[in-house]
Amino acid sequence: MTEKPIGSVLMAGGGISGIQAALDMADSGFYVYLVEKSSGIGGPCPSWTRPFPPMIVPCESSHPNWLSAVGT
């Protein structure tokens, strides 16, 4: 463990679990890089029907501490 840690985190995977972890961290003082292999976040959950309720994915650009596109 290094002495002076860096206050940013790499969240590899933008499914339901990755989104939740990213939000928890970005909402409490950490800068998050959310890296997703496919062209959009959400994972497989949006393809499941009720009663697994459809996930409302928060608009990524609305979160100041959440970088999902390099350069923006």
């Binding site: 463990m1 290094t2 002495e3 002076k4 840690p5 860096i6 206050g7 940013s8 985190v9 790499l10 969240m11 590899a12 995977g13 933008g14 499914g15 339901i16 679990s17 990755g18 989104i19 939740q20 972890a21 928890d24 961290m25 970005a26 909402d27 409490s28 003082g29 950490f30 800068y31 890089y33 959310l34 890296v35 997703e36 292999k37 496919s38 062209s39 959009g40 959400g42 994972g43 497989p44 949006p46 393809s47 499941w48 029907t49 009720r50 697994f52 309720p53 996930m55 409302i56 994915v57 608009c59 990524e60 650009s61 609305s62 100041p64 501490n65 970088l67 999902s68 596109a69 390099v70």
Partner: protein, 940 residues
């Protein structure tokens, strides 16, 4: 970063350098307005992964309508231009010049303190396995394909159709454990945890899709595994609704007589063969580690378990084998949505503790310019009408709507946009507000539910109060539902815009509410879950008070010996107790209870009873982890014969007398004692694994011992299935019984006998036992005090309720109060620890801020209030109280007062009040009346 993945990882916890490989999208995200023209004109059709290949998408595509980011991508593998250098029609049709076929793969180095891996899972493919007939028989589908068939947004728009002849299927069968619990030909010797529940759900949903009374659903299973919260009730209800359950693995699937449907053959417990015809067969496919698991593990220097999931341990369930790298979701082990979300918060909690020192060093706080004063001004309204590509404009005449809006009083500016929500339009709106001196805005586009925050932010960015915008939903509530009536839709859109203008005319600036946050957490309950929560919070740097009712910490974990992975619980527990009691950030109070609570999220006050004396405390968030215990049975000669004992009692016995096992020649475990019945209609989740683990231990200590486990369904979900297989290999005998034919325990002379019907032998067997272990139901410790103190909810079984059973499994129904451990539902210790830390993460989201911002849509008392209190009882959030005040003559009156932090702005109070004594800001009766009048054309 989309289309991106980890290429290399270097460094150590606190300071990693990660090289990210970013594959080209061939579409400039800044320029793409998601109009869809590229996909419309793209000539290359490929299977649509989102719909499991049931329909086609184009090489230029978005994953699905609501995908984030809503930007098209060109799939290089299939694009004709990318593969053959020809075509390029997308470049010609794109109205914004967003397509760029020259984009290259980029490599980007980022520096991070920690890494969380959540690569998800790979569904098992039944292709190539001949006995399932998936490749040969058109009406054999996978559960994921069936899921899309059931979906209203799916390729068949929710209409079930057989692939063979396009007819509706009446008889549908599900086959469970396809690619799970199977080491024959696969390495999947674990349970996928989710398939039983989704199959039951699909069967129940199928009933809703087909004509009543005509349809027939059958589930072929090995064990029905519904050990989650409320799952057992769902299973029981499905039986009552007529879903048929057959315990068998069909061994032959053949195409039906005329090429349609499926003929299934299976053998029952007695060895008798059965054959039946089904219109459709759904294969309940399991979850596998992601395809690139090995590659990812190598790049991240972490170890995998034998099933290629990330290797973790029960006491730190989200930590990989490399410090600073964590895992969540199905890559840890197969899990359902609630456990995935809880484990996500657990991983976040671990990261936040590791990087505690660096908190707030790299984050950016959004700052807005100062608001300009619009008080006393006449309204100058700007109306922006959206075409939404052609989503709206293909039905509604947007120009006519704009022209109409221009004619309305107060409207100073009207414009049409292709996409009102695009980034450049936000700049345009902001500039127009400045140039035209607008002080109110109407956006005629889509739903405020998803887009209002965006437009509010646009207003804030230039200093106009964010509550000066109103939306008219002319897409979801109009164009989408009236596609065939463009004229009527246009007329309706005009009325919707007129209503929004009527309302915004009466809008006035509102201020968001700021609540000061007390940076201190209260954890109630000093068991494993509570201690894990407190320890994590303290490591994150938050002051924590941990209270425990008993004199000792540890709770029910004090009576446990080993996890199913053979890890020693007492060693871990002792270390955790030491860490918690010596941590400077934790104040441990034993023999303490919480006796009173007031306040709301961020700012609670409470009263403690510390060993008889009262103490007042303040806290910003609370975690309830009050635990549970095993119930004591009143059957099977318990308390009458000391050879009959409960699961926890045998632990105590094994602890005090290690040689005791040598004296036993025959042991019988009886499962579901008091669980899954009318008294406790839920599954206690942990007992199957615990009994089997004990059986394995006894068998290893004394291989001569005969061990029988009498069960209803074995529920060793996820990788706990391995211990079930181990027990069978060691010769433990499993006999299934049903709720209607329970085992009978009796004494004959000095012998203890267990009689039950063995479904394999088809006769009653009598087992002589030296020891009978009863796996009794797990019950929560009394949760009523918390229901009363916090006004949170508990279910019929006494377990505290979560805010959302799937998406918010750790948050309670009250803001700022979180749940962990058995008070929420019975769970093994890894899940209890995980949930404790997840609750700590959720709580620290609140505690990390100095103030909490709440929107201004709150109820507010007016001079008309005479304190009749009708609204007090009706408020569902207990946000309204009655207060006394004195007027200038010293006369006492009563009126209501809203606790703004509790109010959700639902408006029930305003609707109940007979005299406009209470209104909801932003939705006053005056505003609502103006909208109704607008549509009735009485005003404007």
């Amino acid at each position: 970063m989309t289309l991106s993945q980890i290429e290399t990882v270097q460094g150590e916890a606190g300071n990693f350098t990660v090289k990210i490989k970013k594959n080209p999208r061939f579409v400039d995200e800044e320029k793409c307005i998601a109009c869809g023209l590229c996909a419309q004109k793209c000539p290359k059709k490929v299977d649509d992964e989102y719909n499991m290949g049931l329909n086609k998408r184009k090489a230029a595509h978005i994953k699905y309508g609501q995908t984030v980011p809503l930007k098209y991508a060109i799939d290089a593998k299939n694009c004709i231009y990318q593969t053959r250098g020809k075509c390029g029609v997308c470049v010609d049709v794109c109205p914004t010049g967003a397509i760029n076929h020259d984009m290259k793969t980029e490599y980007i180095d980022i520096k991070v303190g920690a890494i969380i891996l959540a690569p998800g899972f790979k569904p098992f493919s039944p292709s190539g396995i001949d006995y399932y007939g998936y490749d040969e028989i058109p009406d054999v589908v996978t559960s994921l394909e069936y899921e899309r068939m059931l979906a209203a947004s799916g390729p068949s728009m929710g209409h079930l159709k057989k692939e063979s002849d396009g007819k509706e299927p009446n008889k549908v069968a599900w086959i469970q454990c396809v690619g799970s619990r199977n080491t024959n030909g696969t390495n999947n010797g674990y349970c996928s945890s989710v398939c039983c529940m989704y199959a039951i759900k699909q069967a129940v949903m199928t009933q809703g899709h087909l004509p009543q009374g005509k349809s027939d659903q059958t589930i072929f299973y090995m064990d029905i595994r519904t050990p989650g919260k409320e799952y057992e009730r769902y299973y029981e209800t499905s039986r009552q609704k007529g879903v048929r359950y057959i315990k068998a693995r069909p061994h032959t699937l053949l195409k039906g007589p005329d090429g349609s449907g499926v003929t299934l053959t299976w053998t029952d417990d007695t060895g008798k063969n059965h054959e039946d015809f089904f219109d459709m067969v759904v294969l309940s496919i399991g979850i596998q580690a992601p395809e690139d698991a090995m590659d990812l593990a190598r790049k991240c220097h972490i170890e995998l378990d034998p099933f290629k999931f990330a290797k973790t341990n029960s006491f730190d369930p989200v930590a990989t084998t490399l410090e600073g790298i964590f895992v969540t979701g199905s890559f840890q082990s197969p899990k359902a949505i609630p456990q995935s979300i809880a484990s996500a918060s657990t991983a976040a909690a671990r990261v936040k503790a590791v990087l505690a020192e660096a908190r707030d060093t790299l984050t950016i706080e959004k700052k807005f310019v100062e608001e300009f004063d619009i008080s006393g001004q006449e309204k100058r309204i700007g109306v922006f009408v959206c075409s939404c590509g052609n989503n709206i404009s293909s039905v509604v005449d947007v120009n006519a709507v704009a022209l109409f809006a221009k004619s309305l009083p107060g409207v100073a500016y009207v414009d049409n946009q292709m996409f009102t929500c695009s980034a450049d339009t936000q700049d345009l709106i902001a500039q127009t507000i400045k140039d035209k001196n607008l002080n109110a805005v109407v956006i005629a586009a889509c739903t405020p539910r998803t887009h209002e925050p965006l437009f509010q932010e646009t207003l804030q960015n230039i200093g106009l109060n964010k509550y000066m915008v109103e939306m008219a939903n002319i897409r979801n509530m109009n164009a989408w539902v009236h596609p065939n009536e463009p004229e009527k839709a246009t007329a309706k859109a005009k009325q919707q815009v007129k209503m929004a203008i009527a309302k915004v005319t009466r809008n006035f600036p509102l201020a968001d509410i700021l609540v000061n946050i007390t940076p201190r957490a209260l954890v109630v309950g000093g068991g494993l879950a509570g201690m894990s929560a407190a320890h994590n919070l303290a490591n994150q740097g938050y002051e924590t008070i941990l209270i425990e009712r008993e004199a000792d910490l540890g709770g029910v974990a004090n009576t446990l010996l080993k996890t199913w992975k053979d890890e020693d619980i007492q060693t871990h527990l002792a270390a955790l107790k030491e860490k918690v009691t010596t941590h400077k950030g934790i104040r441990v109070l034993t023999q303490t209870t919480l006796t009173a609570v007031a306040g709301f999220v961020g700012s609670f006050t409470g009263e403690l009873n510390v060993n008889g004396s009262a103490e007042d405390i303040e806290f910003g968030a609370c975690i309830i982890a009050t635990g549970g215990n095993e119930s004591k049975p009143a059957e099977y000669l318990y308390n009458q014969d000391d050879r009959v004992m409960t699961s926890l009692e045998i632990n105590a016995r094994m602890k005090t007398d290690p040689d005791w096992a040598q004296k036993i020649t025959s042991a019988v475990f009886i499962q579901c004692v008091g669980s899954r019945n009318q008294y406790h209609p839920y599954c206690s989740r942990v007992c199957c694994t615990q009994s089997i683990k004990k059986a394995v231990r006894l068998k290893k200590m004394n291989p001569q011992m005969d061990i029988f486990i009498l069960y209803r369904d074995i529920r060793t979900y996820a990788d706990m299935e391995t211990v079930y297989r181990q027990a069978r290999d060691l010769g433990v005998i499993f006999i299934k019984y049903t709720r209607d034919a329970k085992p009978v325990v009796k004494q004959e002379n000095s012998d203890l006998l267990v009689d039950l019907f063995d479904p394999i032998l088809q006769r009653i067997v009598s087992i002589k036992a030296d020891l009978i272990v009863l796996a009794t139901a797990i019950v929560p410790n009394d949760t009523t005090p918390f229901v009363n103190l916090f006004k949170c909810s508990a279910n019929a079984d006494g377990f505290l309720m979560e805010s959302h059973p799937k998406l918010k499994p750790v948050d309670s129904t009250v803001d700022g109060v979180f749940l962990a451990g058995i008070c929420h539902y019975p769970k093994p210790i890894d899940e209890a620890i995980s949930q404790g830390r997840a609750a700590a993460s959720r709580a620290s989201v609140i505690l990390s801020k100095k103030t909490l911002k709440l929107d201004a849509i709150k109820s507010c008392v007016t001079h008309n209030c005479d304190g009749c209190a009708l609204c007090v009882d009706i408020c569902p959030y207990n946000a309204i109280e009655l207060v006394e005040y004195q007027d200038e003559h010293g006369k006492k009156h009563r009126r209501i007062k809203t606790q703004e932090a509790l109010c959700k702005g639902c408006g029930i109070c305003a609707a109940t009040c007979p005299k406009e004594g209470v209104v909801v800001n932003g939705f006053t009766l005056n505003q609502l009346k103006a909208q109704v009048d607008a549509i009735l054309e009485k005003t404007i």
